[in-house]
């Protein structure tokens, strides 16, 4: 660089700066490397693998097999049936809880710690807890039968409901933290201004907070959905992996690691990614119709 400068050419740093590249921009390089190695390469590799079916039949044979077999095709629906409600429940439950905990109050830390705790549990521990608590011989059913509310234990695990419960338990802290940060980003004087303009509590929520929160909720939903869509361990442990919770990731796992048909596994993984992208794209399209500017008082 100094040599260039001596010859009268501007230093490399200055030439880059002219194009809006400075040393801070270089900080993205490790991230880009990470992305290339851990996302782009496996993705491209998987994509090309999926077009090389193990048993021949043209590049789209794996995809044709998947969509022609109702048992395989069904997995998309079974997964969506779990992931969409789980993401919705997480988002909708996060709003009132974030509302109650956004201010400063005594014990806020304790409450927040308790709310975020499930993150630290991990799916397996959660599954074990669910089996012990909600199972046929768990406390929950024992108490209900003991009081005489029900005669037969409720089937709450090893089916759809067990997986949904597990997804809500592990997904809620993420949605809650995200929603809370969006909510605290809204200038509190907006609500007070709405109050002095005659808006009741409900009207303030409906006309001021909700429109400002909605774009954030859309992002929260997307992340929550993507997490839930990849459900695997809980579908095995507290679900019914041969039946109602035969989710798409189980099918991909079985294809790749039980039948050792990597190309088929890759094809299923690609289908999974495509379904997620479609849902996320739908939500983000809806979001683009909303106001997304500053949520502070001064624009």
């Amino acid at each position: 660089m100094s040599a260039d400068a001596r010859e009268g050419r501007p230093a490399l740093r200055h030439r880059l700066a002219e194009r809006g590249v400075d040393r801070t921009t270089m900080l993205v390089l490790p991230g880009v490397a990470f992305l290339l190695v851990l996302f782009c390469y496996p993705f491209v590799y998987g994509l090309q693998l999926s077009f090389q079916p193990a048993e021949g039949g043209g590049p789209f044979a794996n995809y044709r097999t998947f969509f022609e077999d109702p048992y395989l095709r069904e997995t998309i629906w079974l997964t969506l049936r779990l992931a969409v409600p789980a993401a919705l429940i997480n988002c909708l439950a996060a709003v009132p809880v974030a509302f109650r905990t956004r201010g400063v109050f005594r014990g806020r830390r304790l409450v927040m710690t308790l709310l975020v705790m499930p993150i630290t549990l991990g799916t397996v521990l959660t599954a074990q807890g669910l089996l012990g608590y909600l199972g046929a011989n768990g406390w929950f059913n024992k108490i209900l039968t003991g009081i005489g509310i029900i005669d037969q234990p409720l089937g709450l695990v090893h089916n759809y409901w067990g997986v949904l419960a597990s997804l809500v338990i592990s997904g809620f802290p993420f949605s809650y933290l995200l929603t809370l940060s969006y909510l605290t980003g809204i200038d509190p004087s907006l609500e007070r201004a709405a109050a002095t303009l005659g808006a009741s509590r409900r009207q303030r929520f409906r006309h001021v907070l909700l429109p400002l929160l909605a774009p954030g909720l859309a992002i929260t939903f997307c992340l929550s959905f993507v997490l839930a869509f990849a459900v695997f361990p809980s579908a095995q442990l507290v679900g019914d992996p041969r039946g109602s919770t035969h989710v798409i990731s189980i099918e991909a796992y079985e294809a790749a690691f039980q039948q050792f048909d990597y190309p088929m596994g890759s094809a299923i993984a690609m289908i999974m990614a495509a379904v997620m992208l479609v849902v996320v794209a739908l939500v983000l399209t809806w979001r683009s119709l909303l106001y997304r500017g500053a949520t502070g008082g001064k624009g």
Partner: protein, 395 residues
Amino acid sequence: MTHFGSLRMEKVSRSFGRFRALRELDLEIEGGEFIALLGPSGCGKSTALNCLAGLLPLTGGAITVDGERIDNVPPERRGFGMVFQNYALFPHLSVHDNVAFGLKMARVPKAERNLRVAQALALVHLAEHARKRPGQLSGGQQQRVAIARAVVLEPRLVLMDEPLSNLDAALRLEMRTEIRRLHQRLGLTTVYVTHDQEEALSLADRLVVLRDGTTQQIGTPEEVYGSPANRYVAGFMGYRNMLDVTVTTGAGAGGDGGRTRVDLADGRLAGTRRDGAPDAGDAVAAVRPEDLDVAAAAGAADSGTDGLDFAVPATVEVVEYHGRELAVQGRLSDGQRVHFRTRTRLAPDDAVELTAPPERVLVFPREEAGAPDPPPRRPAAGETPDPKASEAVAP
């Protein structure tokens, strides 16, 4: 226009834990009045405003409108408009929808709503910006939207929380005139919070001076500016020299408002006693720079202090040229600084004799119970417009 007869705040108090932000504020506001709550930050003026708006519950006292208690009524049912310091415009709504918000909440029919919004926007000269988002407007325009949003409901009381503090100096003057014009045109009862004494003096019919949550003085701008109730108000309302003096002749002078003689290290002044100034002993004399006259300039020093009955000798230290007059910083013989204004040409190290009309020399007790002094500051140029200074300094 909906008016109330009067709004009474009786012993209104608000504490945050142990901290008493507002202590027993008593104030009666007549319909149509423009009241300014004035004081430095932390004096409780915003607390008082939020209590009025219903955004903060009281911890003591009562607020009544025409005899009806309102301090337990939630903000949305008080019918008071409020203008916030940061404007608090709804960023997702257009200017039109921001102004229409309150009318919509009140379920005003659409045709009437649009008419009233249009009128309110015309009033603040923003008709052509109705479709824009607040983020596309300048600070002054945003503030005008906030004002239009508050007045479109024709509230019985408008509360303004330092509405001009986020604007630059030129815009602030312009908006000040605008607010005064709106008040004169609409006759809206207004409570205006500010830390800027010039703003308060120029806008308000009556001022409430607050400090540390306690009321210092309530009065018209003339009263507060000319006859401050205590030493604190004297120091806060425009610059005053605070001279340490000794009261010598209190005899026969009586109580508040009586004439007295105060001695300095050299020389003496005739003054007016205020706020329980002592009959004898240590006191403080508050004199505005423009109320000090130069009686004898350099050369007359030979005659000494004895030549004048009531005069104080001073030595000129710094002279600033301010166009029509000179702003001078001098030093008394005991080392106290004194600021004064004069049209006499002076130079550093000149000896002068200063006099002042007795009614403009306000004598306060030296010690104030547990109260810190207001931060010392120099008089700003043109801070106290002087009607006498109408000609330029003679060359």
